[in-house]
Symmetry: D2
Subunit: 435 residues, 4 copies
Amino acid sequence: MIPRYSRPEMVAIWSPETRFRIWFEIEAHAADALAEIGVIPKSAAETIWARGGEAEFDIARIGEIERETKHDVIAFLTHLAEFVGEDARFVHQGMTSSDVLDTCFSVQLVRAADILIADVDRVLAALEKRAFEHKMTPAIGRSHGIHAEPITFGLKLAGFFAEFRRCRARLVQARTEVATCAISGAVGTFANIDPRVEEHVAAKLGLEVEPVSTQVIPRDRHAAYFAMLGVVASSVERLALEVRHMQRTEVLEAEEYFSPGQKGSSAMPHKRNPVLTENLTGLARMVRSYAMPAMENVALWHERDISHSSVERMIGPDATVTLDFALSRLAGVVENLVVYPERMQGNLDLLGGLVHSQRVLLALTQKGASREDAYRLVQRNAMPVWRGEGDFLTLLQDDAEVGGFLSGEELAALFDLTYHFKHVDTIFQRVFGRS
Amino acid sequence: MIPRYSRPEMVAIWSPETRFRIWFEIEAHAADALAEIGVIPKSAAETIWARGGEAEFDIARIGEIERETKHDVIAFLTHLAEFVGEDARFVHQGMTSSDVLDTCFSVQLVRAADILIADVDRVLAALEKRAFEHKMTPAIGRSHGIHAEPITFGLKLAGFFAEFRRCRARLVQARTEVATCAISGAVGTFANIDPRVEEHVAAKLGLEVEPVSTQVIPRDRHAAYFAMLGVVASSVERLALEVRHMQRTEVLEAEEYFSPGQKGSSAMPHKRNPVLTENLTGLARMVRSYAMPAMENVALWHERDISHSSVERMIGPDATVTLDFALSRLAGVVENLVVYPERMQGNLDLLGGLVHSQRVLLALTQKGASREDAYRLVQRNAMPVWRGEGDFLTLLQDDAEVGGFLSGEELAALFDLTYHFKHVDTIFQRVFGRS
Amino acid sequence: MIPRYSRPEMVAIWSPETRFRIWFEIEAHAADALAEIGVIPKSAAETIWARGGEAEFDIARIGEIERETKHDVIAFLTHLAEFVGEDARFVHQGMTSSDVLDTCFSVQLVRAADILIADVDRVLAALEKRAFEHKMTPAIGRSHGIHAEPITFGLKLAGFFAEFRRCRARLVQARTEVATCAISGAVGTFANIDPRVEEHVAAKLGLEVEPVSTQVIPRDRHAAYFAMLGVVASSVERLALEVRHMQRTEVLEAEEYFSPGQKGSSAMPHKRNPVLTENLTGLARMVRSYAMPAMENVALWHERDISHSSVERMIGPDATVTLDFALSRLAGVVENLVVYPERMQGNLDLLGGLVHSQRVLLALTQKGASREDAYRLVQRNAMPVWRGEGDFLTLLQDDAEVGGFLSGEELAALFDLTYHFKHVDTIFQRVFGRS
Amino acid sequence: MIPRYSRPEMVAIWSPETRFRIWFEIEAHAADALAEIGVIPKSAAETIWARGGEAEFDIARIGEIERETKHDVIAFLTHLAEFVGEDARFVHQGMTSSDVLDTCFSVQLVRAADILIADVDRVLAALEKRAFEHKMTPAIGRSHGIHAEPITFGLKLAGFFAEFRRCRARLVQARTEVATCAISGAVGTFANIDPRVEEHVAAKLGLEVEPVSTQVIPRDRHAAYFAMLGVVASSVERLALEVRHMQRTEVLEAEEYFSPGQKGSSAMPHKRNPVLTENLTGLARMVRSYAMPAMENVALWHERDISHSSVERMIGPDATVTLDFALSRLAGVVENLVVYPERMQGNLDLLGGLVHSQRVLLALTQKGASREDAYRLVQRNAMPVWRGEGDFLTLLQDDAEVGGFLSGEELAALFDLTYHFKHVDTIFQRVFGRS
């Protein structure tokens, strides 16, 4: 996470201010529950809310205490006591630091997921809009980077829409994975704290109770979370790669929006480089990489060790901030993508009709040619076209053996582009529920 | 995937025999649908089923054809034609190789997921049985590898049970991710094949239709699948690590079952090494690592490139076979784990009662001591115990300042072990729905 | 490692036959040294060599014993004793299993490195040959996938040559990392075996002695080895990617060799897909991924645990066999690459001379224009060319403000292609030591 | 990279101030060379040095220009011109942005490597000191976490010393990998800049010239660099893991230094958690993870794309700052490690002499017992000891069949601890060149 690739809303989730505010809320909700079941005075809970609720925590002061005690939660509680006064002794009763830390981390990851889901929604909206805009814009479909058969640009976008809808579902799932609360004490036995406290805090924070916490919330949850972010980032990369390919000089079917003041290169002023999507490609590599340490974090020792903590202090912000930035940038790229339908048509025509070879092949077999013969006939006429020595339709029409199966008119009909688009509506219906 | 870490049922999914059989079924189901909508004669579809259905495909022969054509599906179709005869020309009509390859891969991954889910069920059954067996077996809970407070060994196992139930849900989710079918032609437009064929084949194979395939089924699905396997493997590692820790000489609270003929070491015959769980630790590293190339596979070029294929030929078997083996081995480890309750009790007593310090701390504050004073009093008496200079309870009872808050009897009551286990039932109820 | 992506010589290194033969040699060399220093009779060492040297070890028999003892080295020694007879009791004196296993693994990794180095040498030879062949073949240089300035195709290949020479050095370094021998006993203290035995075995096997082994050879060595293989694989990917880009329809400057019988696609007979380099892209992902578990293997417990073993049984063969196959395939791709210089020239001319804009920019500033003015003038004339509205040179010559700095003739001279190639010799000299 | 895990010296390398200063030096050295060969006036070069050399670059101002131009190097040059004045037009002549960016990145990575090497030197010094301090401190060697045979604690440390000396060599190698300079223009042809400029700048910055740069310095170099950092981090983890194991309650042979004010747990004041080494374990996971995106960065498109840039903006600081912090923390852990020799001896005695079983086994075979008989005899007497039913030596002395080979006195001599340490000097000599 670096400022260049960060957006403020997501960054704010990871600020000390937010963290301490969530810590306070956990402690204060816990105090309510402790008061309700008679462990601490109700007045104490009220004082905690009243004085802590309006307190402006002094980050520097907490840091100072932490440097002495080498313990962040104790530092915070000490500082909180400076606001709350005598009743501070009722704070954190029977709880352990991890009750606060882990539940807070859950809240942060849930909030982060909410932003990421909203980001994907923006990507989806842009993809849907552009997909319908280009629903019938002809383009060449490519496999292996080689021209295959006609598609429409809208179909391409519909495919990405379907993929990002899956990404959205994965983020919702990731959010569920980590949306749990643990207030269960030093080794998760509730020896010194009633389980009803956990239930209360969980409900107030919109979390589920963690069925078994062992001081910590189990880290398989977080591993699943970060792994899903890695998958989503990989989908970002796929769309970014598509744009980069479309923008390359020889293809140039679309371009990232190029703002007036922008300079593409200090040396080659004509250049418009797909720098946004190249950037997204790199960011995807980063988000993906965070899945590995998250998975290594699962196997903690016994009831817990703290090796996961340094990892999470880094990948918590790094993964969510970077993916948020990437999704937002991606949405902008799609929204503003400059599309050149005439270039798409030009590329479609590049191979002199060879892209219709599959259809010719099929027609030949349907007219009675063996698969092997049909293949041979198509290949015989395709190769000269490939070498730039003629047009595929003309060559086929001039080939007597082909003529034995298909007339010149029948052959010409096989080169009709709309033939390929007859099921675009079907696919749009599947994807968008409308066409 | 190597024989040493493989089980036959999972290996069979990835055999050429299975693959060609699935290919055949895809082609034959497609032929049915093509016949139903009048594209090919019904008799042809019947012939395909009849002759292909009883054919024993000759793997070597297919390999031979592939070496010439350098194309595996063409090689198979050529071989299939040797059985089907003239009607073979109606096979694969309007389809593309990936229709067969990708749908087959879906079937294989779904079958693999089913086995993995059954494996986890066995792990769950073993964990549940042992958890209830040791529901009230006292043990020391450890954080940072340091003794913390008492737990029961059953609680530990309940935590793993809850984790593996999440793993099960993740595998079910992974299965859903990849359970789709694509029969959509060269670039996914259904130009040469009716979408009803895809619907028919999907239904017959228990799959959903892929909303938008672009010759290939999009690889974000597979990335999510392998990522989830990586997370499950990380949970395997956590349980393996727990056993390794419990078996280490100084701890020795449990041991892997050691069969009579087994030799632990060529040099040290007394040694019983936790080789199964050490092995599982390594296998987890492997399964986890496969998530990375699976994620890199997502960003294919345009409508597809084939870079994913070599990766999948390797990680398809490698990840599923290795995880199947690991889960099965893990189930055996849990089922046969030799547990030493007396050693657990011995370790629990190791620290002369220091594990009750948190409870003493709490009691002091409840009796009116400030947090700081309580902490100081506890620390003052704990440190000599830590140095082996006395028993915690006795020292506390001899400390006049402590006596100002708590009587000797009250202090003794704080050292009651069952205090810590009063919510074991609550937790078991949460996890197992019974206690 | 799967047969499809394997070559026999590398596979043979990992066969049980090879492994047991190396084990035998380690034991027999150790026996020589033990005899030399008087620990065992010289006649015993001679018998071991004589009978073991000509023994054909029965893999199945060893497997059978291992299934009972669950210990591979004991199984081997038991089998070896069946050949050696009574003197077998002098085998493995004071040694531990890892002395045999780890030293054997070193030998295997060293042999694998030797093959990989030879593979890279073949890639280097092919690159050098093709680089000189196309030393002066003009092509467009591209940054961001966008045309930049002219290069020669030979320069591109020279860059890859330099990269693979670095890869070679990395493999040599990787070989050195793992070329050590440990014969130091159960915890590496030489308590039961004289260090001179280790020295003798090391010398005989072409290894260095491991300064401190702790039953095992430390795994940071192996991590460095596999990490270097991952880096080399990434260079394979870069060259593969270059070919894939050059072969894409709109570019088509080069193609993988396409053998007569090969069928590119079951549906589109005109297609020549870069399947070899796409395959290499996937294989690179795999080799790279093995670096992760290799690094996780480093942190073994205390003097050793055996979690690394399962990882190494898999990645030992997987990484080396796959990289060997990839390098060999890559060498073939380079050797047989079909190059289209006329297409390179065609692409170079695609932008109507815009690729000379940097040179024009520079000339303007050298003639006294400010950087900002020069940039503006170039951009003003470049944009119409970019839109397909004219030729860059003509437009510049018609621009009066430009004319204030550069005459029409001077401008024309700026479009001379050879200007860009004046340092090709310099670079070739740097890379190849000749030009 | 987060402040909590950062040290100022390494952070400074990655500050904008440092970056712009290096950029300036590259430009100014290039100007010198350009002046020397007569491309620009010598006075211009002097002015650049004079005015730029004392300029305090305004980071905010550069950021402002960059926001408009979306190009960082242009922004810097524009700002530089504000200091240099008219002669600024001679800056950056014939160069491309990457000439500055990549050469700067080389300088930063080299400086980072120098700090890391110094860090390792501190770790080495600490390890050497402690190794000699505990050269003869007896401890139990453990394989699989199970007691094996005696070692000394000094031997353990000597092993780590040897490993970190390898790490040092790897860092030196990593430094060499990236210590190159490219000043070769837009596509690396030196079309607009003389190679002598590159030579001059390289020499001034202590770098080698990059034999072939293609606008960028090839990224296999950086992949090797970050991969080596990942290997070093894995060695950090191994040492951290050793300390964590030694500090666990049941073992407690050593502890991290625990400062007086430090609070180990809010709830359990007696706890001293190995939080530093747990932290190092997590940091190692992070540094390791950065190797993956670094390897993915290698395969840039054609002469370059910019996908690597976002990755490097993150992992450049993240990997070096985190590893620097980790190595520094590790050095402190070793320097201050509190060692408990009496606990080591206690653990060594824990198994009632079983750790001598290998030696007994050997003695039996040397006295003429077959391997199988010796094994059986040792196992027969070891198993009761293992069950806590007696002392190994006594049992052996009471075993008549054993007595047939070894007298009671001979057996007792086999339990002499110093027997195991006779080669400690040999190993120290190997590692430290002294003993």
